[in-house]
């Protein structure tokens, strides 16, 4: 893990607020694994103050790294407007990663909206290992505009199943419907191949994915998000409320967790909250 300056080489708008930042000078990210992230900050003064966590989309040779982000607030809006040549500070690679693709296992990579990057990188890793056709990407969004980088994924040779809530592309419905359908197909095929689910996306989607995996008894990994300040385990801000104590942290114990460890969150979060001392 290193802290370094990088430069925007290219900033490609994908429409719908999505954009791919291609950074140069990211040699310290060489060897990063799918699921890992960076803390990123532009040259924008104190507003916003803290760096923003972004998953790696792809890391190539010669210090090139790609990030996919979506404009949701000030930080991402400023990134979207960063012209080539802009300086950014990068802290990374941070966090853990998804399990390595394996010939014995079929991975169902479930992405919801801007949850795509770690799964894209996982698909890329599978392709590099010649295992792309052993996995599927299930990718859902609100509308067709929320489904990006489809050409790139097809280029990896991985099966791609799409779902949109408005039916504008792929199945009408949620990505979890697509997941159920996939599992159905696998069951019908009576394959003995082991299945594994990896998912990243909105929290509600993650719980739904986790529940589906649980009910089928399938190994499942969820990539979680929490507000972050440091990214390196010192602020203790990104605690995941699982039932296990001590707390686990998205930045240093995650962002990828076995679903069984974090599924408790859904309940924990709704328990009563006491007021406590600061810090």
């Amino acid at each position: 893990m290193r802290y370094f300056d990088a430069r925007v080489i290219e900033n490609r708008s994908l429409g719908g607020g999505y954009f791919v930042l291609r950074l140069g000078g990211c040699e310290p990210l060489a060897g990063s694994r799918p699921g890992q992230f960076v803390m990123l900050r532009g040259d924008w003064g104190r507003d916003p103050l803290l760096p923003r966590p972004l998953s790696l989309l792809s890391v190539a040779h010669e210090g090139r790294a790609d990030l996919l982000a979506k404009v949701v607030g000030k930080g991402t809006a400023l990134m979207e407007r960063s012209p080539p040549g802009s300086r950014v500070s990068v802290l990374g690679p941070l966090g853990n990663s998804f399990p390595v693709p394996s010939a014995d296992v079929t991975d169902l990579l479930v992405a919801g909206g801007i949850g795509l990057p770690p799964l894209f990188m996982q698909a890329e890793a599978a392709a590099r290992l010649g295992l792309a056709n052993g996995s599927e990407v299930l990718y859902g969004g609100r509308t067709s505009r929320d489904l990006v980088l489809l050409g790139e994924m097809r280029g990896l040779g991985i099966a791609l199943r799409l779902a949109t809530e408005d039916g504008s592309l792929g199945r009408r419905g949620r990505v979890t419907d697509e997941l159920e359908a996939s599992l159905e197909r696998w069951r019908a095929a009576a394959s003995t191949q082991l299945l594994r689910i990896m998912a990243c996306g909105p929290r509600e989607m993650l719980w739904a994915v986790g529940r589906i995996a649980q009910s089928h008894g399938i190994e499942c990994y969820l990539s979680m998000e929490e507000q972050m300040a440091c990214g390196i385990g010192v602020c203790l801000g990104c605690a995941v409320a699982a039932q296990t104590r001590p707390y686990r942290y998205v930045c240093k114990d995650g962002p990828v967790f076995p679903a069984s460890e974090v599924m408790a969150y859904a309940t924990a979060a709704s328990t009563s909250r006491s007021e406590g001392g600061a810090q």
């Binding site: 104190r46 803290l50 385990g233 602020c235 801000g237 409320a241 707390y247 328990t271 909250r273 600061a278």
Partner: protein, 316 residues
């Protein structure tokens, strides 16, 4: 003894300073709760270059802290309500102290309790460890026996606590004051009168933020501590008030320091050294950069010893 060496020495300002019974190579420390136990920053900056570091607050037993969400960003600042989560004295000594002993900088251990006894117990045990250069008491903790009011709010309670701790702690003892007060000088005086070696000014200011979409507090515990550049004017004012009141112990200035200029402001206001907190999240290498910037400031201003700056505010 060549003239070129002489002139080099003339241009490089002396950075060593002393605060609360501890000698520092330079006046820049990193603040409790924002620098982990040091090791986390080992690859991000040179720990040896720091004046010192202050650990996350330690309590007698491990604490799990508050439920999430624990932090949120605010204008030029952030709120946190970590809930004083820490590994406890034993694990600290076993897992964290060995690295700290060898990291090449001064180590202050921040500590707290929820009762007088816990403070005494924790402080005495920590002070006994080799490798601990001094202790910083966090008194912004709810006093369980007094209805949850912070120990550090009432000068009388604070004075009693400091006196009791002082009796069992035979190392430099700093007390970190809460800014949630109408009279920071009274708090500082209570510390000085009861044997503290220095005061750290300030801890976070209690604040709050709401997510209007969900209508819930952005921090699970409703209230959190505000830190970052937003609070700098308040911190600086409190440092100056304590300095001006001629409290007979030195002040360590904390609050919103982002760069060398900010640090120099605190020195001018009367701080003998400073701590960098939230800025380590913004830029994990900032403490080291700030030392360089102080040095550059001194050079540009013809200051040969950084201690000349302490309290050198020109008024009137």
């Amino acid at each position: 003894m060549t003239s070129s060496l002489d002139s080099l020495e003339e241009t490089a300002p002396a950075l060593p300073t002393t605060c609360g019974g501890i000698d520092f190579g330079n006046p820049v420390l990193t603040a409790s709760g924002t620098f982990g136990y040091g090791q986390e920053f080992d690859t991000l900056l040179s720990l040896r270059s720091l004046g010192g570091l202050v650990t996350k607050g330690i309590s007698p037993k491990p604490r799990f802290g508050n439920p999430p969400p624990r932090i949120c960003e605010t204008a030029a600042g952030m709120l946190n309500s970590i809930g004083l989560e820490n590994v406890g004295v034993e694990a600290f000594a076993r897992e964290k102290l060995p690295f700290l002993r060898s990291c090449g900088t001064r180590v202050l251990v921040n500590f707290f309790g929820t009762t007088f006894d816990e403070y005494l117990d924790c402080g005495a045990r920590l002070a006994a460890f080799e490798g601990v250069d001094g202790l910083e008491m966090n008194v912004s903790c709810p006093n369980i026996k007094a209805g949850g009011i912070e120990f550090g709010r009432d000068p009388v309670v604070l004075g009693d606590l400091v006196k009791a701790c002082r009796a069992v702690i035979h190392k430099p003892l700093w007390v970190k004051l809460t800014p949630n007060t109408s009279d920071i000088v009274a708090l500082a005086r209570a510390c000085a009168d009861n044997g503290a070696d220095a005061v750290s000014v300030i801890n976070t200011i209690t604040g709050m933020a709401i997510d209007v979409r969900t209508r819930r507090p952005k921090i699970a515990t409703v209230f959190g501590g505000l830190s970052g550049p937003a609070i700098k004017p308040v911190a600086l004012r409190m440092v100056y008030q304590v300095h001006r009141a001629k409290i007979p112990i030195p002040v360590c200035g904390i609050g919103g320091i982002q760069d060398g200029t900010d640090a120099v402001e605190f020195l001018l206001a009367g701080a003998s050294c400073v701590q960098v907190g939230t800025q380590s999240f913004v830029d994990p290498a900032s403490a080291e950069r700030i030392i360089r910037e102080i040095q550059e400031y001194c050079r540009a201003q013809g200051v040969t010893d950084v201690r000349e700056l302490i309290g050198a505010l020109a008024t009137g």
